[in-house]
Symmetry: C2
Subunit: 254 residues, 2 copies
C-alpha cells in the first residue's frame, strides 16, 4: 500500500496518466485529483487470462488491457468491453450490486486498488468524485451500446474500422496513442470474441483494411494510416465517449 508519487498523479501525457480520464470529464478539479491520488492504493499485477475480481474494493487500470466478458451456457465467449488504462474496473461502489460479468486480463496488466471505506469517506467530503464516477459509468454503458450498434448494423469491415477508431481515441486521450499509432496486442481470436467474428474472418478483415491502406501493422504495433478513411468506413464519431453534462446535479452534494 502506498500513496501515489507526484509523477503518477501528473495528468499530462508521458507521465503515468492514472487520473487523466477523471480530469477529462471536467467534473474534477486538481484538488479532487490530488485527494484521490493520496488514498492508499495497492498495485496488483495480472498475467494474461487472469481473472480479476474486486467486489469489495475500487480499482483502476494502470497499464495493460482487461475485458469484461460473458458466455452463453454452452460456453461461447463474448467480450463486452475493453478496459484500458485510466478506466474503472468495478462500479460496485456506485451501483451497490455485484458485477454481473467476469473481468479478465488480456495482456500483462497492472491494476491499482483502494479501499471502499476510504473512498466512500472521501466522496462524502468531495461529492464531485461521485459525479465523476457516475459519468464514467454512463460513458462505459454508452460504449456497450455502441458495440450493440456495431454488432447489429455493421459489417465485419465496418466493425473493425470502428473498433480501431475507438481504441485510438481512448488510448490517445490517455497519451498512449500518438499520430494514431499504438501498441495493441490482442490476438485475432480475441478481437473476434469482441466483434462477434471468427478468428479467420478477423484476419481477412484486417487484410482488407491494409489493402485499402487504412491501417498498417507490425507485430502488436498498429498504425491508423488513414484515420479519416477509417472513420468513414466505420461510421465513427466520438460523441459517445465524452458525454455532455445534463445539469449541475446535487446528489450527495447535500
Amino acid at each position: 500500500m502506498m500513496g501515489l508519487s507526484a509523477s503518477e498523479i501528473n495528468t499530462r501525457p508521458k507521465d503515468p496518466p492514472l487520473f487523466r480520464r477523471f480530469t477529462s470529464t471536467g467534473l474534477l478539479d486538481r484538488t479532487d485529483t490530488l485527494a484521490l491520488a493520496q488514498l492508499p492504493w495497492s498495485k496488483q499485477s495480472l498475467a494474461p487470462h487472469d481473472r480479476f475480481e474486486a467486489n469489495q474494493s475500487f480499482s483502476i487500470v494502470a497499464a495493460g488491457i482487461l475485458c469484461r466478458e460473458n458466455r452463453t451456457p454452452e460456453g461461447r465467449r463474448q467480450l463486452l468491453g475493453m478496459i484500458l488504462p485510466g478506466d474503472v474496473c468495478n462500479y460496485s461502489l456506485v451501483t451497490g450490486l455485484k458485477p454481473m460479468t467476469t473481468q479478465v486480463a488480456m495482456v500483462r496488466s497492472t491494476v491499482l486498488t483502494t479501499d471502499l471505506d476510504r473512498l466512500t469517506a472521501l466522496i462524502e467530503l468531495r461529492p464531485r468524485i461521485l459525479s465523476a464516477l457516475l459519468a464514467h459509468l454512463t460513458i462505459d454503458n454508452a460504449m456497450t451500446e455502441e458495440l450493440v450498434l456495431s454488432l447489429g448494423c455493421r459489417s465485419a469491415l465496418e466493425r473493425m474500422a470502428h473498433f480501431l477508431c475507438e481504441i485510438d481515441y481512448r488510448l490517445g486521450r490517455m497519451g498512449l496513442s500518438e499520430n494514431h499509432q499504438f501498441t495493441f496486442s490482442l490476438t485475432q481470436a480475441e478481437l473476434g470474441h469482441y466483434l462477434g467474428l471468427s478468428a479467420v474472418h478477423v484476419n481477412r478483415t484486417l487484410q482488407e483494411l491494409r489493402r485499402r491502406k487504412l491501417i498498417s501493422t507490425q507485430g502488436s504495433r498498429v498504425a491508423l494510416t488513414d484515420i479519416g478513411g477509417l472513420k468513414a468506413v466505420g461510421g465513427f464519431s466520438p460523441a459517445y465517449l465524452t458525454g455532455t453534462p445534463a445539469f449541475a446535479h446535487r446528489l450527495g452534494a447535500a
Copy 2:
C-alpha cells in the same frame, strides 16, 4: 399533475403495478414506495413513433413499450433496449449526463413524469430510493450486455427464443404476462431492428419456433407454449435481470 391513487400505488398483480419493479429489488420498503407515489406525477400519452425526451425530469413507463435506439451515420437503425411498464426512462438524474440515445414509443404508451427537484429532495430524505435507482440502472445495463451476447454469439433462432423469454419474464414480474402469455405488438421489422436481423428473417425465425411448438401467436398475442424448450434454445437464465446486492452501500446515506 396529481399524486397517484391508492390503486395505482398497489404493487400486486392486476392493479396498476407502477412501482412493482422498485419494490422487487428489495431495496425499498412500503413507506419509500408511498412517498414516491405521492410525488406530483403528470401523465403523458405517446403515439407510436413519438420521440420521448425528458432531460429535466424523471419518468417511468406506465403502459406500452418504449425503446432506446441509435443509428449509424448512414441511418441504419438499432434498438438498444426495451423499456416496459415499471421501467425508468431516464437516468439523467443519477448520471448527470444527457442521455446519449433517443427514446421512441413503439406502441401507444403512457408515461408518468415527476419533477427532478422534488425527487432529489425526496432522495435526501430517503437515500434508499437512490440505491434502488442505481440498481435499476445497473440491471438495464446488464440487459444491454445480454443483448451484446445475443448479437455476438447467438443464431437468429437462439436470439429470438432468448428475447421472448426475457420479455415474458419482465412482463411477468409486473403482472403483465400470465401462463407465459402476453400481448406484444411490435412489427417484425422492429423486432429485427432489435435483434440485428432482417424483417424477412424474423418472419422465418418465428415460423420455425412455431413449427417446433415452442410458441404460438394470434395477432399481437404471444403464447410461449413450451417455456422450458424456449429457454433451452435461447440459453436464457434470468440472473441478469435481478442483480444481487454487493453490500449495504452508504452513498448519500450520510
